[in-house]
Symmetry: C2
DNA sequence: GGTGAAAGATTAGAAGG
DNA sequence: CCTTCTAATCTTTCACC
């Protein structure tokens, strides 16, 4: 995976692209005919558009969203990390490390009182403890403080709401 | 959408289910034959399993993941909210309000020094300002402090890493 | 439960205007 | 961007293990 903020947007998407993306958000397995109807274009056009959206990286992935608890990941947590001024790695050097951790679903480099935020998915609280003490402090240099916030309730994962 | 933490897991998924889910994570538009091959079962079985996974809510959605910047959402931010002890609504009463806000991609009710975390996607910084001052403070009662952290860099959205 | 086969209907993917 | 084409795939249903 590449850094999501690195490349600028060369060509903006138009209304047809947005309609296709919205239709895919509703059902990624919808047949092309359904998608093309939703966008008001022919199937061939929908094909061409989808290929372009994939090539240009506008479509990051076509995936399934899974209920975490039902697959053995009963605990979610938000980890807020502050760095020590020295020995703190750059984002680009940490990215591969973070992505190699199965527990990390989302990581963000922040401006403000917190330097790094992680959303992690774990089997249980013991798993959380091991993750923070061993994985995190062991592998990421320059960690100052770590605050772990248990998730009590959360929205189901949802896609971006595309602008109109 | 329903609360993701409300229902217990009645029946656990098995290895075949996990294999199907992993194949769908890689490509949600993969033909059934590809999915059934990946899981080592027949197509008929893959059909039956997928129907069951949908019915039981283990599959939350089959969606497309989009690069936010390329669709006009150039700014991401994390909003940390602390409540005032009085007038703070319950999670279940806030959920529909939060889900009605297009800017909110993810919301979590937290245990700890922060009560509510939002991941928001916005067009620009002006949009962020309007969101925090008007949408948030205007619609959610009982907000104590609001800390807004700009996202400088982030991982692309990624699916859960399913356990083995 | 899972299998393999059969069946028509639908869709995919490419070619050409 | 559309229409047209053939091969491939979908999806259900079946009898059987």
């Amino acid at each position: 995976m590449s850094n999501q903020n690195s490349e600028p947007a060369p060509r903006p998407v138009d209304e047809i692209d947005l309609a296709l993306l919205r239709a895919l958000q509703a059902d990624a397995r919808a047949p092309i005919g359904t998608l093309s109807d939703a966008a008001g274009v022919s199937r061939a056009t929908a094909y061409a558009r989808l290929a372009r959206l994939r090539e240009e990286g506008i479509i990051t992935a076509l995936t399934v969203t899974v209920h975490p608890k039902r697959v053995g990941l009963g605990v979610s947590a938000v980890v807020l990390i502050r760095s020590t001024p020295d020995n703190w790695k750059t984002w680009s050097s940490m990215l591969p490390i973070l992505e190699a951790m199965d527990e990390v679903e989302y990581a963000a480099d922040l401006a403000g009182e917190v330097d790094l935020l992680l959303l992690v998915r774990l089997r249980d609280v013991e798993h959380l403890q091991r993750f923070v003490t061993e994985e995190l402090r062991g592998r990421i240099p320059g960690i100052g403080s770590v605050r772990t916030l248990l998730v009590l309730n959360q929205t189901p994962e949802r896609s971006l709401v595309l602008p109109s």
